[in-house]
């Protein structure tokens, strides 16, 4: 990114931080958290500790960061180096991202920017202009992706509440500011768990590592009576709903499963794991030292806010998370696919000079699809 663009983005971000302090707060138990931030075109600053909102706002105004982060962990000494911090416990966090869901729509709203010739095209493998394979794939807003991610969030919520016994009001859902959601679990029995234990929770939530015996299937002499019922709680119940569908089909399907044999049953379990399991990013949940984008801060991949979702079902990120100003600006835009922000359509732009509101311009500049004219 050139200086002109950095200047423009910093101005827009600064105005946001100034106008919207009400959206950005330090989390609870502030002094036990590690904070970090990044500026445009520069590296990460970590191991920062803050006392309160005032200190946070000061940091924002002084540095105008492109991204602000905060740990899910609680430390005795958050500002010391990693091995001196003295880890105490950490909130449980889940990351659900549309790009990991293998949805069919991806291709229709992805574009590539060539790192050799800087041309933008619709191809997903190589540059259509110079055939270079050094490309960056950029994805534009898509309703289907958001719906797909929401579906995974709902699966996750059901498991958290029903199986893991997490109280509803200890769960907070945020739009990530790009293409997914972050789910935070506060004050749970899982706070003190280490990485290995969290990885077991991940397998549980994603429905990984299930064995046929758990669902009544045995290698030798399987018994019909051991198979699960639709009303059962937990995975046995969810399995039944997925595999049997209804009570009336249960008996017939059990016969088929038994005659199909053990290994086929096992394969089946693996195959349905992405259907009934919640597709979370396992590494994020297992990492107990990570810093996460601070709720209310801007995402430099889009200029959108990481925002709290009051009502997930009706939540529309591309109108509810765009808070940058409406002042118009002239840019050179190269974006072959149309997109929508704050209910306004943009593009397609075929390497042309256009005058558009700041929030739209920031979006494209952040994605490296436009420059200041």
């Amino acid at each position: 990114m050139q200086e002109k663009e950095v200047k423009f983005l910093e101005d827009a971000f600064k105005k946001y931080y100034f106008d919207h302090f009400d959206l950005i707060h330090v989390p609870e138990r502030t002094s036990e958290r590690e904070f970090g931030f990044q500026k445009f075109n520069s590296g990460m600053m970590r191991h920062i500790s803050l006392k309160d909102n005032k200190e946070l706002h000061l940091l924002l105004m002084q540095n105008i960061p492109s991204d602000v982060y905060c740990s899910n962990a609680y430390y005795s000494f958050p500002n010391l180096s990693m091995n001196e911090k003295d880890w105490k416990e950490a909130d449980l966090i889940f990351d659900i991202d549309a790009k990991d869901l293998q949805l069919d729509c991806r291709l229709s709203h992805s574009i590539t920017k060539c790192n050799e010739c800087n041309q933008v095209s619709n191809s997903n493998h190589q540059c259509l202009h110079c055939n270079s394979k050094k490309i960056e794939i950029k994805s534009l807003p898509c309703k289907n992706c958001i719906e797909g991610s929401k579906k995974e969030v709902f699966k996750l919520l059901n498991i958290l509440i029903e199986d893991l016994g997490v109280e509803k009001n200890n769960i907070k859902i945020y739009f990530s500011g790009n293409e997914g959601f972050h789910v935070y679990v506060y004050n749970s029995q899982f706070l003190t768990l280490g990485s290995r234990e969290r990885s077991e929770l991940v397998d549980y939530i994603m429905f990984r590592g299930a064995i046929p015996e758990t669902f009544g299937m045995k290698k030798l002499k399987p018994q019909r009576s051991l198979f699960p019922d639709l009303e059962e709680r937990g995975w046995r119940g969810r399995f039944s709903k997925e595999i049997f569908g209804s009570k009336s089909k249960r008996s017939k399907i059990i016969s088929e499963l038994i005659s199909g044999g053990y290994s086929k049953f096992h394969k089946n379990l693996e195959n349905i794991s992405t259907i009934i399991g919640a597709q979370i990013d396992p590494n994020v949940t297992m990492d107990i030292h990570r810093i996460f984008r601070l709720p209310g801060s801007l995402n430099s991949k889009s200029g959108l806010t990481k925002i709290f979702c009051k009502d997930l079902k009706s939540f529309d990120p591309y109108s509810e998370s765009s808070f940058l100003n409406e002042n118009t600006v002239e840019i050179q835009a190269s974006c072959p696919i149309e997109f929508k922000l704050k209910n306004k359509k943009f593009g397609p732009f075929n390497n042309e000079i256009v005058t558009i509101p700041t929030y739209g311009a920031v979006y494209m500049i952040c994605k490296n699809l436009a420059t200041i004219a």
Binding site: L201, R233, G234
Partner: protein, 341 residues
């Protein structure tokens, strides 16, 4: 600490304060070396250690955790306390480890029985208290199950390798895991034996007591036997090392794992007699059956076919593989450590 009844101290003697117990009964250690009546306890203590060294569980005089006579109960506790004195005087860690393991197994049986006790509420309560006090697991009874918080469960279960202990293969609801009495107790096996062994290791060593010299001498010579079959695992692949570790800790190694280990060691020209002792700590160890099975694998009995070690691929599907970079490019654990291009 928990206050224990007479029969409870006999079942869970490691919970007692040894010195206090003797004092309460009006005895001193010295008397056990001289007094002919008390010497029975010393003999029992010796055999308690010897039996445990053999990988077996000491058969007590209690029947279902009860005894008709008070002195039987007392002797039961004395033999445990004296066994610790003998172990301290002998000073051999292998014996302590084995003793702790066997005693843990013994206590496990009582814990399981007490948990499952439906006629005597107080027995169940005590077992629950012990597990909470020692291992901070809060158990509650719900219908036919014992339920414990998921986070408690995970802290213990992550050390198990068998897939049935994965959370996904457990009954889970409302933040709790549902377990049978057997599973509940199984969950703390390792901790129970390390609790007992740390209690022994931290106990202070008395100076030699007259009358104790003979049993101590016997135990020292017994402990020498173990060195002969301790396997060096340096050049073994991770899967084999892991299997040996599981067995040494007295945990259950699935049949597939035993098969892998036995066939591997046989191919490395170890004899059936050398290999058999490895299985001694297994919860279901039976010397005769083990020898028979090993001979069968070695091709010495029956069919005459010698079985070979399964491939890495096969072992991966059985969750027995713990590959490390040195495992690259090999297809069978037997190739491990032999240079290949």
């Amino acid at each position: 600490m928990i206050t224990l009844g007479k029969d409870e101290i006999a079942k869970y003697p490691f919970l007692a304060d040894a010195g206090q117990y003797l004092k309460d009964k009006g005895f001193s250690l010295d008397q056990f070396g001289i007094d002919p009546d008390l010497k029975i306890s010393l003999e029992k203590a010796l055999s308690r250690v010897q039996v445990s060294a053999d990988g077996k569980i000491y058969k007590s005089d209690l029947i279902d955790g009860e005894a008709s006579k008070d002195y039987v109960l007392e002797r039961e506790v004395f033999s445990f306390l004296l066994a610790i004195v003998l172990l301290k005087l002998t000073g051999m860690n292998t014996l302590i480890k084995r003793f702790a393991l066997a005693e843990a197994r013994r206590a496990e049986k009582y814990l399981e029985k007490d948990l499952a006790n439906i006629t005597d509420e107080s027995k169940k309560e005590l077992a629950i208290r012990i597990i909470d006090d020692l291992f901070s697991i809060q158990i509650k009874k719900q219908d036919d199950y014992f339920i414990i918080p998921i986070s408690n469960y995970l802290k213990h279960s992550v050390n198990f390798h068998e897939r049935e202990w994965k959370l996904i293969n457990r009954r889970v609801g409302n933040g709790f895991v549902f377990l049978t009495p057997h599973e509940t107790v199984r969950l703390i096996r390792k901790e129970l034996s390390s609790y007992i062994s740390s209690k022994i290791i931290n106990a202070k060593t008395p100076s030699m007591i007259s009358g104790f010299e003979e049993p101590v001498k016997q135990l020292i010579s017994l402990s020498k036997k173990f060195v002969t079959y301790s396997v060096t695992t340096g050049e073994y692949p991770p899967c084999i090392k892991h299997a040996i570790e599981v067995l040494e800790k007295g945990e259950n190694l699935p049949h597939s794992g035993r098969f892998m280990l036995a066939t591997f060691l046989l191919s490395r020209n170890q004899s059936v007699e050398q290999i058999a002792p490895l299985f001694k700590n297994a919860p279901d160890y039976n010397e005769r059956v083990t020898l028979y099975q090993l001979n069968h694998l070695a091709g010495a009995s029956g069919s005459g076919t010698q079985y070979s070690c399964p491939s890495c691929e096969k072992l991966k599907t059985q969750n027995l593989c713990f590959a490390i970079p040195e495992c690259d490019n090999i297809f069978n654990p037997l190739q491990f450590g032999k240079k290949r291009k």
